[in-house]
């Protein structure tokens, strides 16, 4: 009998059971995919570094330096591998299909396959053992924006020397950062490497890297602190290069958690709803004398069956979803939980357990109900909720809107939760839209120590001297002056650059502080968060991170060793910057930087005289591009986008989030509205019987969700700026040392498009689902239970 009741129930209450099944699928799908994502993210870099066999310390020095011998003698050293880098400075030295490349800014670095000090991975995440002669692998920075496929020939052409290599695919290296402003790497056969080295006469500075496994990393760091030409980074410090990838991963994780929570909230309601529907039958069974345990077990078995089937389907569906979620970050890293399926099964079991817990608490009321209470559908006849807050007689609202509003106010808990879920959905889209806009805002130029400008030139031919010749910035400035003169462009210009120095305060020494300066005819007005900008040659402003690193404060004296020459400075202020990862010191305009070899440059900033309009700027960019034969001439906005590197990935996640929001909201609307229709069948039939039009009933149902969506949009719009500000401050403090970032946003996107997406989805979703009310007819009043 027990099984017959169960079978009949599953068949008769097909709609509600199907709704419940859908939610279980949704919930377990997101729970499994999210947990896999979370596990992959949390242990992601460590896992990647382990399989890449990353050393404890990575040391870089000039190729002809003999410091490596001294390092080898340091205590605790277990293993040392060495490779020597070789650079080709301009992207234009490479040709694909006969056309010069113009897609990367920094010098291309070559690695020979016989010097692979760590494990490198191909696109399929397999370890590359060697490279076939005549072929090469490259990082994504090299191929970004190129129409290149496996088997394509790339020609290297430098000063009359020509060499052709066949493209084999991308490769990933655990210490290699990817992005337009990063170094592109090429992994080649050792014989090819020798040919290229021998063929190119004029070579820039070359470096060698030591990959050291040691029991005493501090000994190497101490040695590097004392040396002027050795730079050391620990394994943990190397992890920071994946900051953007991890940021993307954490955003995806946040999205996953929100979606999972939303699914659980709705699931809780659906279980509650379906059990409420059963009260009458529970009453009958109680009246017949069935025990509470027997009655509860009937429902618990039913929900267990639905939960098991739902989670099994959800688990299968979670696999592609998980791949999509991790796909956003696995391009540059070897990431992925090896225990993905096991974790998914564990999650599915948890989902079943949570559903059973919901079911247990929802059916607990069975014990308290008398047969009579249950027959009265759980209503005791006593007041159990507040009176209606609004009255139709005193309201001027049209009847459907009044009824919708009254429904929302009558079940505040239920609609508040839907509002909270919708608010989170809009807020996620809004925060990401705001972040993407802020991270390409020209307002951020100052945080890169780039002077106010309309145009930025990042052409390697123009700026390579800054990176290869001490004091090379002057060559860049001279070239720029000539270029502007030839093109008749009336403008001021400048270039910002930084040079790594050894800085000492008392007994504290730091080798990771970058002395930063801006030179040219356009002045850079440094804004200090505290104190004042340096005015004299012996004055300097430091970032908060640099001050902390040196244990110094404004007014203290520091000594900087720049290219073997010591300089004394007094700290005049604290400023914010992304330069040098936030470890920077800004020197005055008059400080002599002629001996400095830049480690990082801002490119050339052009400030057009007068008040140029958009067309003038774009015409000037076109002229400069043609003259330089380069696409590396950008507007201020595009250049900031390139420098932060975060705008485009966030934009990509925003789009993915929009798709997920649309899917999630549609499902919530569909399933909740179907639940409402099922629950309110008697009321709908009654309304139809007394002559209320079907369209009014549909409108009432749609308006309930519209009201909730409007409230969600208002809350999200009010919260977006403070939340974005805190989030961006957090992100900025990771990328550099930037405090008090001004949030920039597109009014249309944040206050119109994102809310419009939610409103459109809820309206269309609710309308389509509410059409189901048409199937309830006035005569159904005769068959209502």
């Amino acid at each position: 009998m027990f099984w017959r009741i169960l079978k009949k129930d599953l068949k008769r209450k097909r709609t509600m059971n199907l709704i419940l099944l859908m939610f279980v699928i949704l919930c377990s799908m997101f729970a499994a995919a999210s947990s896999n994502n979370i596990a992959a993210v949390i242990g992601g870099i460590e896992h990647y570094f382990d399989i890449a066999d990353m050393p404890d310390v990575l040391v870089t020095m000039d190729a002809d330096s003999d410091e490596d011998k001294k390092i080898e003698a340091l205590p605790g050293i277990k293993e040392i591998k060495t490779d020597s880098s070789f650079y080709i400075f301009s992207s234009k030295s490479f040709r694909l299909h006969g056309k010069k490349l113009d897609n990367f800014i920094n010098p291309a670095s070559f690695i020979a396959d016989d010097e692979m000090a760590i494990n490198y991975f191909d696109s399929g995440n397999d370890i590359i053992k060697d490279v076939e002669k005549g072929t090469f692998y490259s990082t994504t920075t090299f191929t970004e924006g190129l129409d290149i496929k496996e088997g394509d020939k790339v020609e290297i052409n430098v000063d009359g020397f020509s060499y052709t290599l066949e493209y084999k695919g991308i490769f990933k290296g655990a210490y290699i950062q990817n992005g337009t402003s990063c170094l592109p790497y090429l992994l080649v056969d050792c014989e090819d490497m020798k040919c290229i080295r021998d063929g190119i006469k004029e070579q820039g500075p070359s470096y060698k890297s030591m990959y050291i496994k040691t029991d005493d990393p501090q000994a190497i760091l101490d040695y590097a602190d004392e040396s002027d030409s050795v730079f050391a980074a620990t394994r943990d410090e190397q992890k920071s290069i994946f900051i953007f990838d991890m940021m993307v991963a954490y955003i995806m994780m946040a999205i996953s958690i929100i979606i999972m929570l939303a699914a659980f909230v709705v699931l809780r309601f659906t279980v509650g709803f379906t059990i409420q529907e059963e009260y009458r039958e529970i009453g009958v069974m109680k009246a017949l004398g069935l025990s509470n345990t027997r009655i509860r077990s009937l429902y618990i078995v039913k929900y267990l069956a639905i939960a098991v089937v739902g989670t099994a389907i959800g688990l299968v569906c979670s696999l592609p979803l998980s791949r999509v979620m991790l796909g956003a970050i696995s391009r540059n890293m070897v990431i992925g939980s090896e225990n993905g399926v096991v974790l998914g099964i564990v999650c599915s079991v948890c989902v079943v357990a949570i559903i059973m817990l919901f079911c247990y608490f929802c059916t607990r009321k069975v014990k308290k109900l008398s047969p009579l209470d249950a027959v009265r559908s759980g209503q005791t006849g006593e007041r159990f909720r507040k009176k209606s807050l609004i009255s139709i007689g005193r309201s001027k609202l049209p009847a459907p809107l009044f009824l919708a509003l009254n429904d929302v106010l009558s079940a505040p808990k239920q609609y508040l939760l839907i509002t909270a879920v919708f608010t989170l959905c809009v807020l996620m889209m809004n925060v990401m839209a705001t972040s993407a806009v802020t991270l390409k805002s020209p307002k951020l130029m100052r945080f890169f120590c780039a002077a106010e400008s309309e145009i930025t030139i990042l052409d390697t031919e123009l700026i390579k001297d800054e990176l290869t010749v001490p004091g090379g910035y002057q060559i860049t400035l001279d070239k720029t002056a000539k270029l502007l003169d030839e093109l008749g462009i009336d403008a001021k210009y400048s270039t910002g650059f930084s040079s790594q120095a050894s800085v000492t305060h008392g007994d504290k020494t730091s080798t990771r502080i970058f002395l930063t300066a801006v030179r040219g005819t356009q002045r850079f007005e440094l804004q200090c968060d505290e104190g004042s900008a340096p005015q004299k040659t012996d004055e300097v402003a430091l970032t908060g991170y640099a001050l902390d690193d040196l244990d110094a404060k404004i007014g203290d004296r520091i000594t900087a060793d720049l290219n073997g020459k010591k300089h004394e400075f007094i700290i005049t202020g604290r400023f914010s910057t992304y330069m040098g990862g936030g470890y920077a010191a800004y020197v005055s305009d008059d400080f002599d930087m002629s001996g400095a070899l830049a480690n990082g440059v801002t490119g050339v900033q052009i400030k057009l005289n007068g008040d140029p309009d958009e067309k003038t700027v774009s015409d000037t960019i076109k002229k400069l591009s043609e003259k330089l034969e380069s696409d590396k001439v950008f507007t201020a906005e595009d250049s900031v986008k390139m420098m932060t590197q975060a705008s485009d990935p966030i934009n990509a996640i925003k789009k993915l989030d929009m798709i997920l929001t649309v899917i999630l909201t549609s499902l919530i609307i569909l399933l909740m509205e179907r639940s409402f229709i099922s629950k309110e069948k008697s009321e709908i039939a009654l309304m139809k019987a007394v002559g209320i039009q079907s369209r009014s009933i549909i409108l009432q149902h749609v308006l309930r969700f519209v009201i909730v969506s409007v409230i969600a949009c208002i809350i999200a719009s009010a919260a977006v700026l403070p939340i974005s500000s805190s989030l961006l401050s957090g992100v900025s403090s990771v990328i550099g040392d930037v405090r008090g970032i001004d949030v920039d946003y597109s009014t249309v996107e944040v206050f119109v498009i994102c809310p419009a997406i939610l409103l459109a989805v809820t309206t269309i979703g609710a309308f389509i689902t509410a059409l189901h009310t048409k199937r309830i007819t006035a005569s159904d009043t005769a068959s209502i239970e």
Binding site: E382, L403, S682, E683, L686, A689, S779, A782
Partner: protein, 256 residues
Amino acid sequence: MNTVLQAKGICKTYIVNKRQNNVLKNIDLTVSEGEMVAVMGPSGSGKSTLLYCVSGMDRVTSGEVVFNGKSTSKLRESELAQLRLDEMGFIFQQMYMMKNLSVLDNIILPAVSSKKNTESRKQSEERGRALMHRLGIDSVGGNDINEVSGGQLQRACICRSMINSPKIIFADEPTGSLNRASSDEVMNELLSLNRDGTTVMCVTHDPKVAAKCSRVLYLVDGNIIGEKEMGHFGGTEKELRDRERDLNNWLMEQGW
């Protein structure tokens, strides 16, 4: 007297599991203005289906229903709904009400939903209160629907059915779930409305309820097999007893 409602050879057939179930078979019926008609018959005879078909809540399979001189068979769903809202009132055995509205708001909901109604919300509310006062439930207007008794709720349903001043009230076993005292109160209200000129057609199992009606139809297997003219009920206890005895005898003859 004018004819309010006319059914011409109406049939209603349901197809269940490919089997044809003829619930109403070629029924002819005329209800005149001011009449109070009771439809009686054994369970499953088609009483409620007849009520739903003639009131436009359900479509007939064949035949024609004429309401107020206008055929309803060809009307669209929205037109039928408009007709029900403006010209008809409904009372059901279960006191169906909107759970989220107060008793008064439930009563005036059809008024505020009607396009024909040109009065203000306040006027509708006052009219709703007046109807509640007339039926003796004015004290529960602001109450939740689960705060009032079954009898009060059914009287509220009568108020709702009256709010748009319908030409006819259809009642499907209006006293079916009430005790005797509440049942008498509700029937007296319906009688009172009928005396004021409202036509009433009600389905009932209860001879005591039917005895208060001016005409009784007896339905068996989808056919009207008997019809009894009772005349208007004067209102005294003795008359009621006589009418009830007379009706019971007639029902026995019909096979009740």
